[in-house]
Amino acid sequence: MAFGRSSRTKPYVEPVTLKILVAGGFGVGKTTLVGAVSEIRPLRTEEMLSEAGRPVDDLHGVESKTTTTVAMDFGRITLREDLVLYLFGTPGQDRFWFLWDELAQGALGAIVLADTRRLEDSFAAIDYFERRGIPFTVAVNCFEGAQRFPAESVRGALDLDPEVELVMCDARDRESVKNVLVAVVEHALVLADRPRAAVTS
């Protein structure tokens, strides 16, 4: 029969799954960053959205509804048999911000990947995570040929809160990306130790 693989003797391990979001402007290297640490080639999943249809699924006006397909790239890191981390690259275009709400639910933290040549592309993501109280770290992707700026001037330009960490990284380099991920989770840990009310004030 259709499902008739060998009968399993061992029960499935049901890992705890966690997710970290990777946000930033279009072409800033989100998929590259995911690919640098993922154990699988970044996969692409698509969500069909009807802009006119949100937030209520109303069938009136279906004929004029425009549908858009939004692609999200994601990767997976199995930390232990029972602990799996997923990385999701958020859609680069600002107009799909509403998709983030779903992605952001239950996310343990986020990386805002920034390019010093186009810092303004990061504003929307920073603003979003600040408002939601989602722990995030800004990672400046040091592109070859881009002028390097001192961290302090980038912080100033982005108007970051003092507690938000800013790190320099190379999105192609596994070790470098690992350090960014550790920075995000450490920041999440600090916030988790603190009472929730203090975070939202």
Binding site: M1, L18, K19, L85, Q105, L108, A192
Partner: protein, 141 residues
């Protein structure tokens, strides 16, 4: 069989492209809404998270239960039988929109062929101990 005819046969073992006589521009032959029989949301109580894992139940090996299932349902169960998979992985692997996979997995949950793990509830941060384990795990990579 002539060489000519042989050359036109689909190559076995190639990546599965069931609709090889259409190009990509034509889109899928079976439209997503047909696979879900017009439904846009699943019957399950909770919206399935992208990282919710789909785990087969023992009943998934029970013959005779699969009469009402579509090939896509069957493929979801088969993929998860190897190793539980997340909604996102299933969508990517089946090349289907996430919304369609949610509906199909919802059917399988209703039929008690699979269950779905619930990730960390919304608006709650994961446990501090889990965060520590994540940090250790990342450092050890």
């Amino acid at each position: 069989m002539s060489d000519e005819a042989e050359r036109n046969l689909p190559v076995e073992g190639r990546a599965p492209r069931p609709h090889h006589w259409f190009d990509d521009e034509a889109g899928p032959v079976v439209r997503p809404y047909a696979m879900t029989r017009g439904r846009t949301s699943a019957a399950t109580r909770h919206r399935l998270d992208l990282i919710a894992l789909v785990v087969p139940e023992p009943a998934a090996e029970d013959p005779g239960r699969d009469q009402t299932l579509s090939p896509e349902h069957v493929e979801i169960v088969e993929r998860c039988s190897e190793q539980p998979q997340s909604i996102a992985e299933l969508a990517a692997g089946l090349d289907l929109p996430v919304g369609v996979v949610r509906v199909l997995v919802g059917d399988l949950v209703e039929d008690e062929l699979v269950h779905v793990t619930r990730p960390v509830p919304p608006a709650e941060l994961p446990d501090v101990n889990i965060l520590r384990e994540v940090i250790n795990g990342l450092r050890a990579l």
